[in-house]
């Protein structure tokens, strides 16, 4: 009966406008938050290096070739880079100055031996358990991260010999060994693959192993820092790319692509999210005003209900319950539209080669619940104020 009294003479067109506005705002809000999260996750888990980590080096020109320009980084240059606001962390990549060769040490794979180039990277840049990334003299094996091209090469070799090819998992379980040497001595160290990378062309080893080799098997060639590992702040790849261009620095293009994609998509979804928040805010404002209009239009009815003995609480509840139902309907419709939209957007992304997780994000749905709670609280407070004013 209360509903009949309070909501009989509504201006439905205003309600419909507010509902449509809220529905669009909510749909875009869930969608943008969901894809903002998924875009930020994009690229994670596929690489040993963090998705914001890249390796940079100086561009090699003819001047370098004739020794007029340096290709290595000095301490001052490293410090200068570290101070840039868009750079989170800089670490030099140490290269070997000792002779090193790498060979298979297992019956499962054919004998294969090659001279290699090893580098060491701080464990902060690697996305696996840092306790695995350590070595000290006397350890059973040296943990290594192998360039993926190396495994491809090994498989090509196996294929040519008519032997079975080696998967990532099998490669991790078979034995390899390094031969460390200089003109005077040599030594073997067992090695075990703990991961693969497409970003680095050298075999990655822990820095303690690098120091051991450089000290134990010194050669006339000094160890120089020609590459740096850099961690770029989230969404700053555009600025960083300009900086690299100005300073004649370069990186492997593929390592930049994920970061750039994330920057662009993240900015786009960020803008959509900002617009959605404004839309939700404005639509909620219209809905709250609509609730106020209902109360103003029904001032006589509310006053009369109070005068015949209805408790303010029961009238407030009747009004709030109505708008909670309206808001719940908007939320359900927005969630359903988001699910359909997600199906379409995920399909477009997969077609474009962007593989993102297809699961739903908790935070996107939480944003609707939060907006719902805030709206209901403001509406309750408003209704209470209006109804207690009536006598």
């Amino acid at each position: 009966m209360l509903k009949k009294i309070l909501f009989n003479n509504q201006v439905k067109s205003q309600l419909i406008i507010a509902v449509v506005g809220s529905f669009l705002g909510f749909t875009f809000l869930i969608t943008s938050i969901h894809y903002l999260i998924r875009v930020n996750e994009f690229g994670e888990g596929e690489e040993i290096l963090g998705s914001n980590s890249i390796i940079i080096q100086k561009k090699v020109s003819n001047y370098n070739t004739i020794n007029l320009a340096k290709t290595d980084f000095g301490e001052n240059e490293i410090d200068h880079l570290d101070q840039q606001p868009f750079i989170e962390h800089v670490e030099p990549i140490l290269s070997n100055s000792f002779g090193v060769s790498f060979q298979t040490d297992s019956d499962l794979v054919p004998y294969f031996r090659t001279d290699v180039f090893v580098q060491s990277v701080n464990s902060d840049f690697l996305k696996f358990d840092s306790t695995l990334w350590k070595w000290s003299e006397g350890d059973e094996f040296v943990p290594i991260v192998l360039p993926r091209e190396f495994l491809v090469m090994l498989n090509t070799f196996a294929s040519a010999k008519g032997l079975p090819q080696v998967s990532d998992e099998l490669a991790k379980s078979i034995g390899f060994k390094f031969k460390l040497y200089n003109d005077n001595s040599s030594e073997y160290q067992a090695a075990r693959i703990i991961g693969f990378t497409s970003e680095v062309s050298a075999i990655l080893v822990p820095s303690s192993f690098m120091e051991y080799g450089n000290l134990g098997f010194p050669t006339a060639v000094p160890a120089k820092v020609t590459q740096l590992m850099i961690s770029v702040k989230e969404g700053s790849f555009g600025t960083f790319e300009n900086f690299m261009e100005e300073r004649s620095l370069e990186s492997k293009e593929s390592s930049m692509i994920v970061g750039k994609l994330k920057s662009v998509a993240g900015t786009l979804f960020g803008v959509v999210m900002a617009i959605s928040i404004i839309a939700v805010f404005l639509a909620s404002l219209v809905l709250i005003q609509y609730a106020q209009l209902i109360m103003s239009k029904n001032a006589y009815e509310i006053k009369t209900l109070l005068r015949i003995g209805y408790a303010p609480k029961s009238i407030i509840q009747a009004i709030i319950a109505y708008f909670i139902k309206v808001f719940a309907l908007i939320s359900v419709l927005a969630a359903a539209s988001f699910i359909s939209l997600k199906f379409i957007i995920d399909g477009i992304m997969i077609k474009g080669g962007i593989m993102i997780s297809s699961s739903f994000t908790f935070l996107s749905f939480s944003s609707v619940i939060l907006a719902f709670v805030i709206y209901s609280a403001v509406n309750y407070w408003n209704a209470q104020k209006e109804i207690l004013r009536a006598r």
Binding site: K4, I5, T304, L306, R307, G309, P312, K313, R391
Partner: protein, 213 residues
């Protein structure tokens, strides 16, 4: 419930000189069960009096008490309890819901306390001569018929006092007598009283007390 007026003076009436027997600015009590009349011509403040008793107006000096409770201190939630169980009103503007039927108007009130059955409410309509109006929207009723519906609605609750603000202004003598009889009978059943404001007519009823403005 005793109603005590302790030098109550509505602010809009404070500049006017009131007599020694006026309800304004003097002290008096209304005891439970009394049948009280306030007889005055139009514009003298009868509605100010009923609205002050109903807690609708708080713009007065002095103290108005229900037993020992100051009326201006009653919270909105407690007013709901008072208006449901202790004090009932027939307002001069009736305060019916014009879009609702007579039945809906009566049940809206009656359902708060389940005082009467539908059959009893219909019986009251019959007593007051409008049994056929049960399903008619109130907006289609004449003022006199609406007054009778408002009176039945006010009776459809337990109360210690019923305040009636010119409830018979659109009724003829015979219908007025029927209404007053019904109100009096209900008050006698409950052992309660009423305060009736009228426009110079005592309706051939013997009141326990008369108030003056």
């Amino acid at each position: 419930m005793t109603i005590t007026f302790d030098h109550v003076m509505p602010h809009p009436l404070s500049s006017i000189q009131h007599g020694k027997d006026s309800i304004w600015g003097n002290a008096f009590r209304l005891e439970q069960g009394q049948k009280v009349v306030l007889n005055a011509s139009s514009g003298k403040g009868k509605t100010t009096f009923t609205h002050t008793l109903a807690g609708i107006r708080n713009d007065y000096s002095g103290n108005l008490l229900f037993d020992k409770q100051a009326v201006r201190d009653i919270t909105p939630e407690h007013w709901a309890i008072h208006r449901r169980e202790k004090i009932s009103f027939v307002f001069q503007d009736l305060q019916l819901f014009p879009e609702l039927t007579v039945q809906e108007n009566l049940l809206l009130k009656n359902d708060l306390t389940n005082t009467f059955t539908k059959a009893e409410l219909k019986e009251f309509l019959a007593i007051l001569g409008i049994p056929e109006k049960w399903d008619e929207p109130c907006k289609l009723l004449s003022m006199g018929q609406q007054q009778r519906v408002a009176i039945i609605r006010a009776l459809a609750q337990p109360f210690e006092w019923i305040i009636l603000d010119e409830p018979f202004s659109h009724l003829d003598k015979a219908n007025t007598e029927l209404c007053l009889e019904l109100i009096n009978a209900r008050c006698n059943t409950l052992g309660t009283g009423f305060i009736l404001t009228t426009l110079g007519d005592y309706h051939d009823f013997t009141f326990d007390k008369e108030l003056n403005l």
